[in-house]
Symmetry: C2
Subunit: 354 residues, 2 copies
C-alpha cells in the first residue's frame, strides 16, 4: 500500500533533514502500510496489529526517526524500573521518585525487570507507546536497541546506582560507595580491629565492587594485610549475610569485625552470630551499608554507612525531567554521586581481648 | 458551537437508552464545544484546554455517560493507590500487584494519597484520562464523585484492606483480622499470661478495630478482665510502638505480654523494652501482626500473626481485572477475607514468676 502523493509531500515539507533521515511516508512505504498507520504507532495508539507495530517500530529505529513536539504528546507519567523489587531499599527509592512526581503532577509507572539487568523487549515497546516524561532505571541498564527506541521518541532516561558500566554518555545518579567502604573499615581499624572480614554484593555490580575496594584501601593504607579468605562475595540478600557469615565465623581464625555489603546482609550476619552464641559488639563488630529504617530498630542498633536513597531517587527524577525539558539541547551527560556518611550506633566496639 | 446535525444523529443511533442518558453531541452542545472535543476528553487526549476538560468531565459525570468498547481503548496499565507508601508492608503489596500485572502484560501505576483516606481530585481525572484496566486501592477509598467518574469510564476498582467502611457494594479483599487478634491473644493466655496489653493501629481503620476486638474476645471467653488502661490506640508506625510501649511498661502493674497492632509497632516495643532493661520473652512476651520479612530477622525472632499480603494483593489485582472483563454483567460485589495464621517464634514465653 502506497501513501498518497500529496501526504508524502506535506510530511516531507515539515521535516528538517538534520534531525530526520526518513519521512513518515517513506517508512510507511517500506513497511507496506499507510502513513496514518505509522502515525498511530508513533502515537502509541492501541488499534494496530502487533506484527505491524513491530515492523514499523523496527523501521523507525533503523532510520533514527525523531518525533517532533514530544512535549505536547507526553503522558503525565514517569517510568521507574527496578532490577528487583525487594526490601525497604526499593521503598526508599519509590518514595523519592513519588515525591518529585507529585510535585510535578505526574504518576509513577513501576516495572521490575525480574532480576535481569536489562528490562525485557516488551517493556521498551510499552514505554514507547505510553510516552512518559522520562525513565529512571535502578540498578539496571538498557541495551542498544532499547536506548535507540527511547531516544527516537525523545524519552530521556537516567540510571540510578548503575549496575554494570552504563557508559560515559548515560546520565546517572549514584552514591560515593568507595568512600563509604573506606569510612566503614577505617572506623573498625580505629577501634583496634586487625582481622576484618567483608561480605559483599555481586561483583558484577559496580556499587558493590566500589565498596569492597574502599574496604581494601582502608586496610592497605593502615598497613594491615588483605586476606582474600576473609572477603566473600554474594548478593544483597539477608540469606547471603547469614550463610557467608557462618562461613567466616566458623573459621578458627575468625575475624573480630565484618563489613557487610548492605544492611540486609548485616541482619543475616546478626542471625549467624546469634546461632553461634557470639555477642555483638562484644565478640563481633558489624557495619552495614544503606541505613534502612530497620537499621535503627534491630538489637543492637546497627552501625552503618548511610546512603541518601530517597534523595538519590529525587535527584534522578529531577534530572530526567530536566533532560526532557532541554530536549535537543544535547550537552554532556550528567553523572552525580551523592555523599555517603558513617552512622555509628551500637554494633561496633573494641575487639575482644585475646 | 453546535455539533453538526448529521453527527448527532449518527451518535444517537449507536446509543442504547438503557445505559446512556446523554449522547456525546448533547454533552458537546451543553459544554459549548464540538463533539470531537468531547471525544478527545473521553479518550484522554492531551490536546484539550484544562478548563474545557473540566467542564466536559463534569457534564459526563452529571449525565452518567458510559463509554462503550472500554476494552479496546484501555491502556495496558493497572493503578495501585496507597494511603501511605511506607515500610516493607507496602512493598509486599506492590510485589503482589506486579506479579499479576506481569502475567497480564500490564504495567503498574503507583500513587500515594499522602496520608488522606481518599486520593485527591486530580488523581481521579488522571486515572480517567489514562484509562487503566482497573484500580486497586490500599487502605483507602473513593468519594462519591470519584466512584462516579471511574464507573462512567467502565474502570473497575477494588479495595484492599478497607480503611473505613467501603460499603457493601464495593468489592474488597481483606484478611481475617478479628481471627488473628483472637489467635494471638489465645496463644498468650495458653502460655499463662493474665495481664495482656494491646497497642493498636488507628481506630478509624476497620482492620485495626477488628484486631483489638479479637483480642478482647479472647480475654472475655477466657473469663479474664479487659482493662481499658492496657489498650492503647496509635498508628501503624514503629514510633507508636516505642512510645505507647514505654507508657505500658512503666506502669507499676505492667502487663507481662503485649499484642502489637503490627510488626513495626512490635519492633518499637522491642526498643522500649531494651531501654527499660526488660528481656524478651523472659520479662515480656510480644506478638506482632503482618509477618513482614523483618519479623524473622530481629532478635529474638518475632511471634506474629501472618497475613498473606502478597497473596491478598494478587487476589485484588485478579479481581479487578475479572471485573473489567465481565463489564456490564453487574452482579453482587465480591468481598473476600484471606486467612491469617499465628507464627510462633521466640518473642513469646511463659510469664515471669512473681
Amino acid at each position: 500500500m502506497k501513501a498518497p502523493k500529496s501526504e508524502e509531500t506535506q510530511t516531507r515539507a515539515r521535516v528538517s533533514p538534520s534531525t530526520q533521515t526518513a519521512t513518515l511516508a517513506e517508512i510507511a512505504r517500506q513497511a507496506g502500510v499507510s502513513a496514518p498507520t505509522v502515525s498511530k504507532v508513533l502515537n502509541g495508539r492501541a488499534d494496530v496489529a502487533p506484527a505491524t507495530r513491530t515492523r514499523v517500530e523496527e523501521l523507525l529505529r533503523e532510520y533514527g526517526y525523531r518525533r517532533r513536539r514530544a512535549e505536547a504528546t507526553r503522558s503525565p507519567l514517569i517510568d521507574l524500573v527496578f532490577h528487583e523489587l525487594e526490601s525497604a531499599w526499593a521503598m526508599e527509592v519509590i518514595r523519592g521518585v513519588e515525591n518529585v512526581a507529585r510535585e510535578e503532577g505526574l504518576s509513577v509507572v513501576l516495572s521490575e525487570s525480574a532480576g535481569r539487568l536489562t528490562p525485557g523487549r516488551t517493556w521498551a515497546d510499552q514505554v514507547a507507546a505510553r510516552r512518559p516524561h522520562g525513565v529512571v532505571l535502578v540498578l539496571s541498564g538498557l541495551d542498544e536497541s532499547q536506548r535507540a527506541l527511547l531516544t527516537s521518541r525523545s524519552i530521556p532516561f537516567v540510571v540510578m546506582d548503575p549496575a554494570g558500566d552504563p557508559g560515559a554518555d548515560v546520565p546517572s545518579i549514584g552514591a560515593t560507595n568507595w568512600q563509604g567502604g573506606l569510612a566503614a573499615t577505617r572506623h573498625l581499624i580505629e577501634l583496634g580491629h586487625e582481622r576484618i572480614g567483608a561480605i559483599s554484593g555481586p561483583s558484577r555490580m559496580m556499587c558493590s565492587r566500589a565498596r569492597v575496594d574502599g574496604y581494601r584501601a582502608a586496610l592497605e593504607t593502615a598497613e594491615l594485610p588483605v586476606d582474600p579468605e576473609l572477603i566473600k562475595a554474594g548478593d544483597f540478600h539477608h540469606e547471603t549475610g547469614y550463610r557467608l557469615g557462618l562461613e567466616l565465623l566458623r573459621r578458627p581464625d575468625r575475624p573480630t569485625a565484618i563489613f557487610a555489603g548492605n544492611d540486609l546482609q548485616a541482619l543475616g550476619l546478626y542471625e549467624a552470630a546469634r546461632e553461634l552464641g557470639l555477642r555483638i559488639p562484644e565478640d563481633l563488630s558489624v557495619v552495614g551499608f544503606d541505613d534502612l529504617p530497620v537499621a535503627r530498630w534491630v538489637g543492637p542498633p546497627l552501625t552503618t554507612v548511610r546512603q541518601p536513597l530517597m534523595e538519590m531517587a529525587e535527584a534522578a527524577a529531577r534530572l530526567v525531567l530536566d533532560l526532557g525539558r532541554q530536549e535537543g539541547a544535547g550537552g554532556a551527560a550528567t553523572s552525580v554521586e551523592l555523599a555517603t556518611s558513617l552512622v555509628v550506633r551500637s554494633s561496633t566496639g573494641e575487639p575482644p581481648a585475646v
